[in-house]
Symmetry: C2
């Protein structure tokens, strides 16, 4: 299965399939067709079949009913949600603190274990049950806890400097909530979650409706 080629859009849709299937299962619905999923997702049946073929070892045929519980397991395995991935939050401001106490991450296999900041009033305190350390201890703690994933929520002026520190400490994946481009070496991946890009779409769509 690892050999199949997957597009960004397909990856983005997988969590949505998963949520839909979980809500079906929770309502006591145990079989579903590609057509039903397509209606919910507002897309074509063919797209749903192609997407689900990526994650599942059985081939989907038009009209075939699929097992909801089985599909949920395939999707979770494909998305890596069955292996909990530990991460740190760097920059415990309003957003960083909120992400540290956000409970929804566990649903997709992510567990935040600590925060880092430079503010002496934060260092030594906790958010939920998670400790906040001084950024000068980053290297030793990342090494000790064997952390490979960091969530970046620093002020934008210092984000590249902090990313350099993270890369030096051995972090390989950076989930960037700061609206700036950061440079990393080839063996490190960055995924930006961009509030401005998402809001741009909302804003454009509402303006289009208004001008109709």
């Amino acid at each position: 299965m690892a050999k199949k080629k997957v597009s960004i859009r397909q990856l983005e849709r997988c969590p949505t399939y998963l949520r839909f299937l979980v809500s079906l299962r929770n309502s006591g619905v145990y079989t579903v067709s590609s057509k039903q999923i397509a209606q919910m997702m507002d897309c074509s049946e063919e797209q749903v079949r192609k997407d689900l073929q990526l994650v599942s070892p059985t081939k989907a045929r038009p009209g075939r009913q699929r097992n909801v519980v089985e599909l949920i397991e395939y999707l979770k395995t494909f998305l890596g949600y069955n292996n909990i991935n530990e991460a740190i939050v760097v920059g415990v401001g309003h957003l960083g603190g909120a992400l540290m106490s956000f409970k929804g991450f566990r649903d997709f296999g992510l567990e935040i274990v600590a925060g880092f900041d430079i503010d002496p009033t934060l260092i030594g305190s906790k958010v939920g049950d998670k400790p906040i350390y001084c950024i000068s201890n980053l290297d030793e703690i990342v090494d000790e806890l064997n952390i490979k994933t960091a969530i970046l929520t620093t002020p934008r002026e210092v984000s590249q400097e902090v990313v350099n520190k993270l890369v030096n400490s051995g972090v390989k994946a950076i989930w960037n909530f700061v609206p700036v481009h950061v440079d990393v070496p080839d063996d490190v991946v960055v995924e930006n979650i961009d509030f401005a890009a998402s809001y741009a779409i909302l804003s454009h769509r509402i303006n289009k409706k208004r001008n109709k």
Copy 2:
């Protein structure tokens, strides 16, 4: 300009162009070529030219230097950032509270003016300088403040019920931070900001690197 057809991906890229151009201007750089922008964005020069043509009344030619300050203004106007849009946050938990105190929204023309919740210990208090009201007062306050945009950060079990209330009160744009699909009438737009979808991409890319 309103007649040009624009894709979601193009819209998503516009805030990134804007940030890059603002950082150029702040460093005292006042002209830029499509090639330079393409290098920063890690995309083709042709794509940059096409994207900027969308927002600007002057046609870009290969190799031509463009005025940074002018491009910033074109992008801001295109994205509607020059008209401040007032919004409410519904559900003042960890994430909702963080969004209420997040200062970055003003950069793209969004101003949060109030929060709504059902928790009596929150109602009547403030986040930053923004009041938190009881959700039972939604109709009158949305009407009084003439609010058209709501940020949804409720628990997922109640999100559809809250969306129905928002639609009834006259809200036309919902920025949904809750990982569930919500149904709205045709004259209302929803844009989902999906942490799970973004994390799925990070997770997949890091796994691909590991398996190399």
